[in-house]
Amino acid sequence: MIREKHRYILVECGASIDKIDASAFSDALYKELLDCIGSLSYHRVRPRVVKVLNANTFVLRTSLYGCGNVVAALALIKRIGGMDSYFYTLKTSGTIKALLK
């Protein structure tokens, strides 16, 4: 069986995740990413918020193919859940362990 390769992205967010429900935040983020990436590419990117580290930082998992697209798309997102925000991509890695080192 072939295992799919992922990339993990450490992201800092301008909006406080505490103020929005974590799942509502994820849904809002997926919606924004869908807008930027487009529905034809989104299924190959498959972004998922896998870990919320604190009120402003979280880990996003994407497919290896979609990592670049997600990093670029995060720079273009300036609003989430009706709030002004920003997303800084701080680090990318193939494993969560290496990402958080």
Partner: protein
């Protein structure tokens, strides 16, 4: 590799944020480097500056000694690019234009920028990628700039050189 960025003087940031975003240095324009309208005609040879404009005005500015050039309408003007190439002046792509664009405006702008980038690459021009952000929330990390540059058609090496060597040359040479 050491990466450099240029932002607007209204953008407030500290050293910690600069390091967090992966930059060795972030310069302010105007401030650390001047940013001049080609139509103003106030171009000083030897001064560190970015001259913006389009068409014949920019050709004049390049001949007067612009440090770097920003073509604001991103139209492919072969005569202008030939003059820029002859004077070995870097061409600046402020990616904040893409970040701020909305709806269909964004893909249209990106299409124009890709055509300009493709021809500039062919001529062997120095290509610089900067954010020119006006506030902290509009700043980007170096990784995000590289990926946006790749969307425009730059390869990994060109994108990284544009953020490191070319930006360093604009800021410190």
């Amino acid at each position: 590799m050491e990466y450099y960025d240029i932002v607007r003087s209204s953008c407030n940031f500290d050293e910690k944020l600069c390091m967090k975003l992966g930059f060795k240095g972030i310069a302010k324009a105007p401030g650390d480097i001047s940013i001049t309208d080609a139509a103003s005609g106030r171009i000083v040879r030897g001064e560190r500056n970015i001259v913006y404009g389009s068409g014949n005005l920019l050709i004049g500015a390049v001949k007067k000694g612009a440090g770097a050039v920003w073509i604001t309408d991103y139209l492919l003007d072969k005569k202008l690019l030939d003059v820029i190439s002859d004077n070995s002046i870097p061409l600046v792509f402020p990616l904040s234009d893409i970040i701020f664009a909305k709806g269909l405006q964004r893909p249209r702008l990106m299409a124009k920028m890709s055509v300009l980038l493709k021809y500039s690459k062919k001529l062997g021009l120095g290509i610089s990628f900067i954010t020119l952000a006006d506030s902290q929330k509009n700043m980007c990390s170096y990784m995000q700039l590289i990926e946006i540059a790749k969307l425009l058609g730059a390869d990994d090496e060109l994108a990284r050189t544009g953020l490191s060597e070319i930006n360093k040359r604009i800021l410190y040479d």
